[in-house]
Symmetry: C2
Subunit: 354 residues, 2 copies
């Protein structure tokens, strides 16, 4: 028996193991943790027949936090009825009640030149997408025949209330420029009309100090490209969040550099949230897997989010984030950022900053 | 009785009337048409109580083509139960069976500097988004109480087949670089799995010469920003199309310059498609309405699409499109493009090119 936080580590597929190893090294350098490594995804399917083996899920359920690499092989399984690796991700979300997906998008000054946007359009972007992760079209009733198919998007008041609180808590924590932009399609969808009403309600009753704006999803998709700096906290439902958060990730020019947190409760800066999942935004990138050239930044910054939101160790999280910035400022760049630094070289440079 | 094509003109709200007037002048300069002007949207609500009066709909049903300005006032109605102007747009789509929405996105060399993207990323972009417009989440069963709401996304094989044919016809018409990118979320949604299967089927059976690629909607949202030039024809369902086409519109840096066509049948280059609706991509822009400064380009290029896809007059359509390019090359710019040219000045310059 120890007092050290227990972290389940799920390296997964493709570049997952390479980047996760880097993040574990960084965590080990800034604290003492009990790591429990488990299989997930395509590699778990070949080992055990299931993308999310029971032992893996149990480890996550008992852990203080889980660090995930990436899942999937990029090629559809030969047998169309074989379990899909992505299924593991969806199962984890429901089993761990990870209803709040946080994706902070911050541009490092050193990386402005990698954005597809003109530098003056992105300079200073600092926003967080808060995506509802266990409801909507992803988990509603569905059916499919050869002639017809349907999916159902369902939201309850309670589901919208709890994800709204996550967004408003984050905004409150940011101080005076606190602003939440809630994104929906209230001119067409009934779920969006309920969404807008409930978000406004929570704002009025519980967070009158936070500025709230409602935006249609098509307008949001435009404004994120034309002026990402106008956003602070972007709150949205599951399907819209999937699309907008990936759009936002590339706008910052650093898909490989972005972290995410999936939480089962509103973030608590003092003690953290037990049972969260932390993973880079990028996927398993089978094309560069095994070359040792993947950027470990997304995974390392996910470890920082774990320290902050999962373990209540904000100061340590800040140290890691500053070290990443410093290593970039020194010119280290993996190939995705136009350089030739390897995963291990980047990690070594970062460890020497800590 | 005449042999001239009958065009219903729906100026609508905000800048709608100003830009539509410009497009009608251009049409009158290149041909002889019978115009029938009718109210729609907020202005129709105040005149008749309905956003889409019966007489307006009947005129559209009898016309060879309809030219629409814009609908909506940008402010929610004081009475939440009042008819919404957007409702007119949705009713028109179903009543006229406008299942195929085409949005060509082409960058004018003169406008590269207005894109939020680095010029080298967009130069030469020439793609068309083909959006299914009468199915999916927009028209499925829905319900809402104060505690819960749902929307249903439904697609039938036949609906997917007919929109696929529109995309493949357009690709075929483009010649050897014909490529269709079909966008779905087949790793999660049953409607998307059916979508992917049916699109692939139509490709294999009817258009073996066209290259087909399937992309997940989140990946598409990224690639449209990082490399819009890789796309040719982007085929997608209603909700995804709403988001991606607006994203694409701003990427080109010219929201006010983009046209759209909504058709009830696959485009037929020789005779046109009877009963189509043509409108600029931009909205009613209440903030600049009445200032005489709106760009008429979106509406004028929509008239060109009407000539090409609605009336089988491709050569005349080309003339109009080239004239727009020439006027831009001469330096005329409305305020949205950073200039001081008025709507009327731009239109006059264009008429003198014809
Ligand atoms: C793998 C897939 C099911 C998943 C999603 O759509 O949520 C992914 O795209 C993501 O955003 O985490
Ligand atoms: C007005 C609205 C209902 C409409 C839509 O969502 O289809 C608009 O955004 C569009 O894209 O034409």
């Amino acid at each position: 028996m120890t007092d050290h936080p227990r972290i389940t580590v799920l390296p997964g597929d493709g570049i997952g193991p390479e980047v996760t190893e880097a993040a574990v090294e960084v965590l080990s350098a800034v604290g003492t943790f009990d790591f429990d490594e488990r299989p997930i995804g395509a590699c778990a399917v070949s080992e055990t027949g299931a993308p999310l083996p029971e032992a893996t899920l149990n480890s996550c359920l008992e852990a203080d936090a889980t660090l995930l690499g990436a899942v999937g092989t990029g090629v559809p399984p030969a047998d169309p009825h074989a379990p899909r690796p992505e299924q593991a991700v969806l199962e984890l979300r429901t089993s761990l009640s990870l209803y709040a997906n946080l994706r902070p998008v911050r541009t490092f000054p050193a990386l402005h030149s990698t954005s597809p946007l003109r530098p003056e359009r992105i300079e200073g972007t600092d926003l967080t997408v808060v995506r509802e992760l266990t409801g909507g079209l992803y988990f509603g009733q569905r059916e499919r025949t050869s002639q017809q198919a349907f999916d159902t998007c369902v939201y309850t008041r309670q589901e919208i209330e709890r994800i709204s609180r996550v967004a408003f808590e984050l905004a409150s924590g940011k101080g005076s420029r606190a602003r939440v932009t809630s994104v929906d399609k209230a001119n067409v969808l009934d779920t969006s009309r309920l969404w807008r009403e409930v978000v406004q309600d929570i704002a009025d009753r519980e967070y009158p100090e936070v500025e709230l704006e409602h935006l249609l999803v098509d307008t949001a998709a435009m404004r994120l490209v034309t002026d990402p700096r106008q956003f602070d906290i972007v709150l949205t439902e599951n399907m819209f969040g999937d699309i907008l958060s990936d759009e936002t990730a590339v706008i910052a020019g650093s898909l490989g550099s972005l972290p995410s947190a999936s939480l089962p409760a509103p973030p608590n800066p003092l003690v953290g949230v037990r049972g969260g999942l932390f993973e880079p935004v990028h996927g398993s990138a089978p094309d560069i897997s095994g070359t040792g050239s993947a950027s470990p930044i997304g995974s390392i910054l996910s470890a920082a989010l774990m320290l902050r939101h999962g373990l209540g160790l904000s100061t340590v999280a800040n140290v890691v984030e500053i070290a990443v910035r410093d290593v970039l400022d020194k010119g280290f760049r993996t190939p995705d950022l136009g350089g030739t630094t390897t995963t291990k070289e980047f990690t070594r440079a970062l460890l020497s900053e800590l």
